[in-house]
Assembly symmetry: C2
Homo-oligomer: 331 residues x 2
Amino acid sequence: MSRAPRLQDVALAAGVSRQTVSNVINSPEIVREDTRIRVIKAIADLGYRPHAAARSLRTRRSSTIAVHLDPYAGGVSGVVLDRFVHALADLAGDRGMRVLLYTARTEAEEIARLGDLLDGGEADAIIITGTYHGDPRTQWLARRGTRFVAFGRPWGDDDHHAWVDVDGAAGTRKAALWAVEHAGPDVAFLGWPSGSGTGDDRESGWRSVVPEGRGVRLVSEESVSAARAVVGEALASGAAFDALVCASDALAMGAHLAAVAAGRPELPIIGFDNTPAAEAMGLSSVEQLPEQVASAALDLLLASGDDRPEDRHVLVEPQLVVRGSADDGQE
Amino acid sequence: MSRAPRLQDVALAAGVSRQTVSNVINSPEIVREDTRIRVIKAIADLGYRPHAAARSLRTRRSSTIAVHLDPYAGGVSGVVLDRFVHALADLAGDRGMRVLLYTARTEAEEIARLGDLLDGGEADAIIITGTYHGDPRTQWLARRGTRFVAFGRPWGDDDHHAWVDVDGAAGTRKAALWAVEHAGPDVAFLGWPSGSGTGDDRESGWRSVVPEGRGVRLVSEESVSAARAVVGEALASGAAFDALVCASDALAMGAHLAAVAAGRPELPIIGFDNTPAAEAMGLSSVEQLPEQVASAALDLLLASGDDRPEDRHVLVEPQLVVRGSADDGQE
């Protein structure tokens, strides 16, 4: 048949009433088995599919939160955003809400996708991730009057929207304080090249503890092998090195391999993200608590619009997880 | 006001026409800025929210695939399912479909959630994960006539539904063949206690290459420290050990730490899952290709119902990724 098959067509093909077809779709347990099989066969033969939009009128759809899921990039730290999505789906489900994923490779594509989701009534609220200074997505969402929250600070833009973020500086500060107390004053830092909000923030926490002139500042791109080379050179150069605070677990793993190769396997090294990889290698790390971020994001989405701006920002304080022979546990 | 605010209420509060309110919601760029701000303020003040179900009538909702996302369990291998979800969201987006996440802690809860999603017209197709022998979810979905595909084989049940899975035995077979050729005939296996479909399958691939009497079979629970203890004991016992094939990367990492401690850092050890952690430690591993699994699952969901049953099953063959000083690259 050239037009899409209707409920009526299924009923006719199966020799049953329209109500029976509807029962097979919605309450199969109340339909006798032979009838049910006949109807399911007719549905399959005709390729009948109840029109989703018409069905969603009948029963009111739950609130749906759309979340941007980046393409999988690999790497040790990718798990943090995935933990956030897991927690969000879990918490939203408990509150009777849905989580819808969308992907986009560029910002223009992301805005187009969001427009589709909002225009189509498929999403009621949005969580965007990876915001930065001058982000056009938040401006577009605010202009449209959409209910949204950002995982990530506006980094210098007006605080006109709700956001939740992890206080990276507080995390590296805890790491540096622990290292100064347990290892010595020359606590080095291994970070990314300057210019990223996240990286500069993490460096600032270390710098707030370790004064200029103590503890070298090393730079590496985000890879285990690059970090291994950078730290290997620094150790060989004879620089004073009581401990090392790193901007990520991948950097910390590379640093640890360099320390082992240089005959200093006990050099205290602290990563950031508390990934399964760092745990498996027995490295200390700063735990971002993505489950708390997800919970705060949901709270902000459900909050009334009357809150003062400063009540719509949540900065989650990470925890330091200490591993190794000397100290085990959390601080 | 006690009832939910309507479009009309917003128009009245902002002193504009209903059409203007609608424009602010759907095409804000065509509304003058001062008017737009007034309307957005009225929307926020009243807490007005366009009724999602009514809106979804206007524009036809996209097909939506619901996917079970387990609560985050931690561990090195958790990333495999996350890579599958990333790929699914990406590929579905390209085909104009949506991915909706749901969580459930028990099977009864999962069936109830699925019922809600299907009854509410919120999902048009389902992907379930982690199927096993006698799984009530697949039986329930099949009885209901729902379009669904399982990531995971029925493990002995009737092949009455579409599924896609990774051929674990083919993966460990490749690993064992490589090890016999490059290291020697005594290739050991480190697996989980018998009884899991996945674990037994991976063991069978190794056993198809290494005859009884050669290569010890070791058992550990899924943890780095447990594996380290088991392999440490085996190495100390003096058993012949040319190489070790493992059922997971966590087991392989523990085995590698034991080998390093026993003065055999060059012992070839091959993990399973090709996680970022294994990559960071330079360990060989079997790559499951979750992106191919996602692509096959989508193909199966979109296929017509007329395919023969054997056309509705896809077994993805994993790849061996060899790392280490001797060999680099894929085989």
